[in-house]
Symmetry: C2
Subunit: 109 residues, 2 copies
């Protein structure tokens, strides 16, 4: 079964600490989104709040998806000073985090 070459989706699942105010969360999301303007290999950003109805989301409250052209692009992003600075701030506000990267494949049946 073939996997897509290239494109990598970088998914972050987060749960903010209870004491983090919604205005702070908004600011953190804006900071995350702004990385697209600062880190060349980061091609897009989207986010959403969990709206799960099956209760299998293990307490995560937000999802963030960013897309990179390659796994090398993800590595460059992780090491980029703008990301390092943001990640330190962002992670400080989280209770839980899960990060998973994948190369999306659309299976034709």
């Amino acid at each position: 079964m073939e996997e897509a070459k290239g494109l990598v989706k970088h998914m972050l699942l987060a749960r903010f600490k209870d004491e983090v105010q919604s205005e702070e969360i908004d600011q953190l999301i804006k900071g995350y989104a702004n990385l697209v303007n600062l880190v060349e290999p980061m091609k897009s950003f989207e986010w959403g709040r969990a709206v799960s109805i099956e209760n299998l989301h293990q307490g995560f409250t937000h999802i963030f998806e960013s897309i990179f052209e390659s796994t090398e692009g993800v590595a460059e992003y992780i090491a980029h000073p703008a990301h390092v600075e943001f990640a330190n701030l962002f992670l400080f506000h989280l209770d839980k985090v899960l990060l998973i990267d994948y190369k999306p494949t659309t299976l034709r049946s």
Copy 2:
């Protein structure tokens, strides 16, 4: 901060049991993909293996993304007999599962 109306991404993170062979995994992925043909509100399907380099993926090995037009569409999918039958088979082969739905928003900064 506005969230998108409508469109819902349904993300499933999975870790297959160690004894599940790769051919079985391929068949399960084909079965998952085929739900697009059987469940009307399911609009798309993609999957990928975890290629994470940060080691914050908590042992999950595969991600599946399906897109629905609404949260009602997700509810219809969950209750659909074709999904129920597939989910029973699929979950039997998993060690770990995490399901999270969100309405993607692209933030403009």
